[in-house]
Symmetry: C2
Subunit: 333 residues, 2 copies
Amino acid sequence: MSALAVTADDIAAAAVRLNGHVRRTPVLRSDAIDAIAGRRVLVKAECLQITGSFKARGGWSAISSLSPEARAKGVIAYSSGNHAQGVARAARDLGAPAVIVMPADAPAAKIAGTRALGAEVVHYDRATESREDIGAALAAERGLTLVKPYDDPLVIAGQGTVGLDLAEQLEVDRADVLVCCGGGGLTSGIALALERLDGLRVRPVEPEGFDDVTRSLADGVIRSNERISGGLCDAIITPQPGELTFPIMHALCGPGVVVTEDEALRAMALAFAHLKIVLEPGGAVSLAAALFHGDALEGDTVVTVVSGGNVDPATFARALETLPPPDPVGGTR
Amino acid sequence: MSALAVTADDIAAAAVRLNGHVRRTPVLRSDAIDAIAGRRVLVKAECLQITGSFKARGGWSAISSLSPEARAKGVIAYSSGNHAQGVARAARDLGAPAVIVMPADAPAAKIAGTRALGAEVVHYDRATESREDIGAALAAERGLTLVKPYDDPLVIAGQGTVGLDLAEQLEVDRADVLVCCGGGGLTSGIALALERLDGLRVRPVEPEGFDDVTRSLADGVIRSNERISGGLCDAIITPQPGELTFPIMHALCGPGVVVTEDEALRAMALAFAHLKIVLEPGGAVSLAAALFHGDALEGDTVVTVVSGGNVDPATFARALETLPPPDPVGGTR
């Protein structure tokens, strides 16, 4: 096995930089969720992270590592919204100007949130334009440092601090750790952080139609999605796993799990009802896997990292419609 | 000043009983919330507590103190839903049968949640019947121990553990601590727990039309509400402050704050958008006071205890409708 791009030491160093600037999110659970899943479900609630997703970690990790000169020139990122907000907030607090390249069809709440953090937003068409090309051109033109959404060692190290949290918070020896997976920054980072805990097996979870990582892991080589736009789980739609993240996931992760959009919506609704947290579709697929794909899991406990909660009210209302009406029957008098 | 019914020692003892059985809920914050409020807002998220509200604390505190004989006979409680679930869960885990007297118009989600925890539910009409009378009769008939929703020293001590959490979690010397207030169990418990921290002033928050505690504190004697049913904030609608809780609040609390139902709904929506937590109307009034009644507050930081998240989807959807559409304008290209 060749050397991986990131090590556990890099994650430990990122944790030092992040200390006091991001939140240690809680691990939640509920009897009702356990009953539906048929096993104990531990939910690492990164939707409660600053900026509403785990992306605040990678953004801070990367920008806090820049030289004063590079910070002063500024940073650029391309993102459907969560990485945008993570980078924008870190940039603002670290004194760096930020330009964010966002798809024109990103959720309005994410665009507005990014702008509210002081970033300059540049739109592109997800179906016809390459955000990588746009980002690279702007970076060259203005001397900006590109903060990639996942295929950057500092970003992977930042996301991996979720795994360090888990190592301290969990009291389980053996469990599948389900992680919402787009390009693989969070999944590979957590896998590295938990590498020495043999009983904890990290597994990526993806939405149907965008299961590039699952297929890549199965085949042992990088596979791409046919579509790279559309779909409810905007936060985790990427063309293919990263050049850096894939080797890490291939070395350390168990097989992927694929869920439907309807299952993601139902997981959002059950998280509303029983955990009292707000999830976006792409942030709920790991919980959906725990709830509705129990046959694919091992052990009497499963850990799910729910990764974000930046969802438009209309999409959330749609998720709530999947809830069965409560059955209060049975009271007497 | 005559002796109060509960002491700081009682709260410390409750914390020992509760250790490992309830969750230490996080303190959250958001730049966007601060901007609206005009000061820093720290949000103690008891909606993330087991059973979806702080009531799990008081229930466990009371039932864990019962003799084995009393536990075997069982407990009874009257509640619109949150106390019901807190008592039902503690009773189940401590091996006590539970009967819960609930208003017929309680939210369906709360009735269903209580039944799911194994309790027997008995309905009554909030407008025409006395839950206290019904509870007392059933208790006598079956030998059940009545666990009152607030006017019980063990329950007040349990709720007061929220204050012990805050004393450890907060890094502020001076702030108003706003607490959603019904009968005053949570408010008086927190006030006792924080009694020695001079800079932290606990203040009850109530919905318009059900401001019995605010008026009682202003007048120095117990005042009642004209209405005792109806209203969106079912969790905190009570006839009047308790015989035990009022003297504590009178001795230790600052003046009450009264918010409208619309403000509670808007606070729920902003908590959804910026904190990613689910609040019920009665659990959001403290945040509403911070957001919309800043003129009534002192200091550059305010602490709000948001107390519950057991809300029906329809009510939550209604709250989301108060959100202004996000303004994504300003992207280029």
